[in-house]
């Protein structure tokens, strides 16, 4: 089982949430007295049982996060969303189901077109959506009440690693005193500590500009960015509503006492 987990990790070495998730999965599953059982079969079935429970827990996590964030979505608010995160979508879905009146600004999310996908989904929920190009964030920040993003990974300092563009939005929001909320499950907590953007393993991906680019022109192809904790207001996780500094507390307890 350990081998298979390692296989998952090596499949996409750039995915932080996968790494973190696998790590935590291993810890969760092996942290049981089942391994002391004499009978191999019973130990194995116990491990499988815990593994399945882990899967349930992560989907339950999204529901918990959605529930916790309902309080911050008030009547008539405007939410700016960046990237396509299932957790954030769940949050907005729950709010819509609770008959709250709010509207959503979606950034386009080039080149992944995350904004287009998200606006599709939200339109199905009858939530008023407005699409912006990525550069229009500062222009509309005055009208925005809060920013909601997901996270690929939550690092020890309390910062997050997310799709390219998140840091800019957080910076603008911070300078205009708008809260930035992050919705992330606890298995995304990783034991990384980047001090600046270069500290992370680069995740490069091809970008299509639609027109041919001369070969002498370099293209910045990084797919993700680190947002430091001072620009984040709160993290909604299945462990509760946390401030960025508590993330390290959780990680210490998680990794120290097992």
């Amino acid at each position: 089982m350990f081998i298979r987990v390692c296989a998952y990790q090596s499949w996409d070495t750039t995915s932080i949430s996968l790494t973190a998730g696998c790590d935590l999965f291993m810890r969760y599953v092996t942290r049981t007295s089942a391994l002391e059982y004499e009978d191999f079969n019973s130990a194995r079935s116990r491990l499988i049982e815990r593994a399945e429970k882990f899967g349930e827990i992560s989907s339950k996590a999204r529901r918990i996060i959605a529930m916790l964030s309902q309080d911050s979505i008030f009547y008539g608010c405007t939410i700016l969303v960046h990237g396509f995160s299932i957790v954030v979508l769940e949050v907005l879905k729950t709010a819509a189901q609770n008959k709250k009146l709010f509207r959503v600004f979606c950034t386009e999310g080039r080149p992944d077109r995350t904004g287009l996908r998200l606006s599709n989904e939200l339109a199905k929920l009858d939530v008023p959506v407005k699409l912006l190009i990525d550069s229009a964030v500062a222009y509309t920040m005055d009208e925005v009440d809060m920013v909601f993003v997901g996270a690929d990974g939550v690092v020890e300092s309390g910062g997050i690693i997310n799709m390219m563009g998140t840091f800019q939005i957080a910076l603008v929001a911070h300078s205009m005193n708008k809260p930035v909320y992050v919705a992330a499950e606890s298995y995304k907590f990783a034991r990384l500590y980047p001090l600046d953007q270069k500290d992370m393993a680069p995740a490069l991906r091809p970008i299509d500009f639609g027109v041919p680019i001369p070969s002498k022109v370099e293209v910045e192809r990084s797919a993700r960015i680190y947002t430091p904790p001072q620009y984040l207001t709160l993290l909604f996780t299945d462990l509760g509503v946390l401030t960025p500094s508590v993330v390290s507390d959780e990680l210490i307890q998680l990794y120290l006492w097992s």
Partner: protein
């Protein structure tokens, strides 16, 4: 009794905990982290308070088990104290070790405690170990007279602070001669008059003075009569409704550590000191609350006393001398040297009859610690190491034989040194670390400047530090607690002899040289701390302090 003892230690301003310590979150409802943080209960610590006097301070640090609110006004402790005070001279004279001096040394530190926070706990512990302190009456005949004086005065001082005097009263009145009784009465009368005349501060000093007046017949019964003296003095005060001065000061004092600008306390500390501190010349006014730097003049003096000082083990003495001369410097080196010296001392230690290993050994360690503190103020790491050692001593199962206990302790110390210091010592920058919500890096002077500039230029600042140096003490700036170094050191530039503008300026009235050894760097300038637990953000220092001290696990 236990609750009172616990309440006293909680309310003691030296180790007051302000703020909330929530129990670890109950994660039963979700998540991968669920199996991990079951809040391990700390009834163990509070119940062992009954058995071992050294655990109440530990229970203060493990807040989950502490049922008392963080800041508490202590209830007046009249009843038990008066009963104890009225019992004269509760001494047992069946042992011949010199821990009287040692324990009292430590009690003095209780009044005027050392700069390091960790040591405060040891002080508190010592004072709640009355039995060993009072029950060992030294054979003073063998000591040089000068030393007798200090011991006797210490005894006088100690009784003031004893909260719970043991009820094992074998009144020694029948053994005191008439002359001594007369002297005793005179002393009492003088003390009473002094108390009425000059208020609460003086009875300690007058009892000390009375004690010194009675020094000449240096017999084993001396301490008993001194105890009588101060006991009755204290009891008379009690009747008057005043508390003994040290207790008042302890409770009301905003400064938990020895304030060197408080004349009476300095006097008292001087009288008790083994290491004679010379008067510093030309002290800077703002920094008079710090221990002043004494040029290493006492080195030859102490060297000559090497073979005369029974209470201090030779190895500990040697380490102290090395501190003074600067041969050993640096937090880790000092800590390792100290622990190894303690290992030696434990090896040579033999339990006196009718005493428990834990109490007596703890008292001995206290005496060594106070001696080392006089040589050079303890660092944070040393405070933590001492706390660890005392914790281990306290946890020795009572059924162990003496040699087993010694071997056990020695291996513990060895393990501590290896794990905590050497292994974590792969990288060392900071001297010591103190943590609270406003956390601060306390290291060699100059660090704060560098960190501030680096922060401005967006250069990350990393601090490398072993976790055992983390401390829950709060320090807002570099002035409230520090060490002073040799002022002449800053007037010379090494390697450039021609820069001598400041030669001979130490005696001028308008110029005072100040050489601080440590400074405090605020947490905003620190990007990350590297510890043996991994990389943590500065905001997580209280978490590590909390985890580290929980259950005395000392992982």
């Amino acid at each position: 009794m236990d609750s009172r003892r616990a309440s006293r230690t909680v309310s003691d301003p030296k180790i007051r905990q302000v703020g909330f310590f929530a129990p670890p979150p109950d994660r039963s409802f979700s998540g991968p982290p669920d199996p991990i943080s079951t809040s391990t209960p700390n009834p163990a610590t509070t119940t062992t308070a009954a058995n071992s006097p050294s655990s109440p301070p530990i229970s203060d640090l493990s807040p989950t088990g502490n049922s008392l609110p963080p800041v508490m006004i202590p209830p007046p402790r009249h009843s038990s104290d008066t009963t104890h005070r009225l019992v004269p001279s509760p001494l047992r004279r069946d042992t011949l070790s010199l821990t009287v001096g040692s324990n009292n040394n430590n009690n003095n530190i209780n009044i005027s405690s050392s700069p390091s926070g960790g040591f405060d706990l040891t002080a508190v512990k010592a004072s709640s170990v009355p039995a060993s302190g009072l029950t060992t009456v030294s054979v003073l005949k063998t000591l040089p007279p000068g030393f007798t004086e200090t011991i006797v005065e210490k005894v006088g001082g100690s009784v003031e602070m004893q909260n719970d005097l043991p009820a094992n009263s074998k009144p020694l009145k029948e053994r005191t001669s008439k002359a001594e009784r007369r002297a005793l009465q005179e002393a009492q009368r003088a003390a009473k008059a002094a108390a009425k005349a000059e208020g609460s501060k003086l009875p300690a000093t007058t009892s000390g003075a009375a004690a010194s007046a009675n020094v000449k017949p240096a017999k084993a019964t001396k301490p008993s009569s001194q105890k009588n003296d101060s006991a009755t003095v204290a009891s008379s005060e009690k009747k008057g409704g005043d508390r003994p001065p040290e207790k008042d000061r302890k409770k009301d004092a905003p400064h938990p550590r020895m304030q060197y600008d408080d004349k009476s306390r300095v006097e008292k500390a001087k009288r008790r000191a083994v290491v004679k501190q010379t008067e510093a010349r030309n002290r800077v006014e703002l920094f008079r609350h710090l221990p002043q730097y004494e040029h290493g003049t006492q080195l030859p003096d102490l060297e000559s006393k090497f073979f005369q000082l029974d209470p201090v083990h030779p190895v500990v003495y040697k380490v102290g001398l090395q501190y003074i001369s600067g041969d050993i410097s640096g937090g880790n080196a000092r800590c390792i040297a100290m622990l190894q010296a303690f290992q030696e001392a434990i090896k040579d230690y033999s339990t006196p009859d009718e005493k428990t290993v834990t109490r007596d050994l703890t008292a001995k360690i206290n005496s060594y610690v106070s001696f080392l503190n006089e040589c050079r103020p303890l660092s944070i790491s040393m405070g933590n190491a001492i706390r660890f050692l005392k914790n281990r001593i306290a946890k020795l199962p009572l059924t162990l034989s003496e040699s087993e206990a010694k071997a056990f302790l020695q291996s513990d110390i060895e393990q501590f040194i290896n794990e905590k210091i050497i292994l974590a010592d792969k990288w060392t920058l900071a001297q010591s670390l103190r943590g609270n919500f406003y956390f601060v890096v306390y290291s060699r002077v100059g660090t704060a400047c560098v960190a501030m500039v680096a922060h401005e230029f967006r250069v990350p600042v990393l601090v490398c530090c072993e976790a055992y140096k983390f401390h829950e003490r709060v320090q807002l700036d570099s002035i409230c607690s520090n060490e002073l170094g040799d002022p002449d050191a800053i007037s010379k530039v090494p390697g450039r002899e021609d820069i001598n503008y400041l030669d001979g300026c130490t005696n001028s009235e308008n110029l005072q040289l100040l050489n601080l050894i440590y400074d405090a760097t605020p947490s905003d300038y620190v990007s990350m701390i590297v510890t043996d637990y991994g990389m943590v953000p500065p905001t997580s220092v209280p978490v590590i302090v909390r985890e580290y001290c929980r259950d005395q696990v000392w992982i």
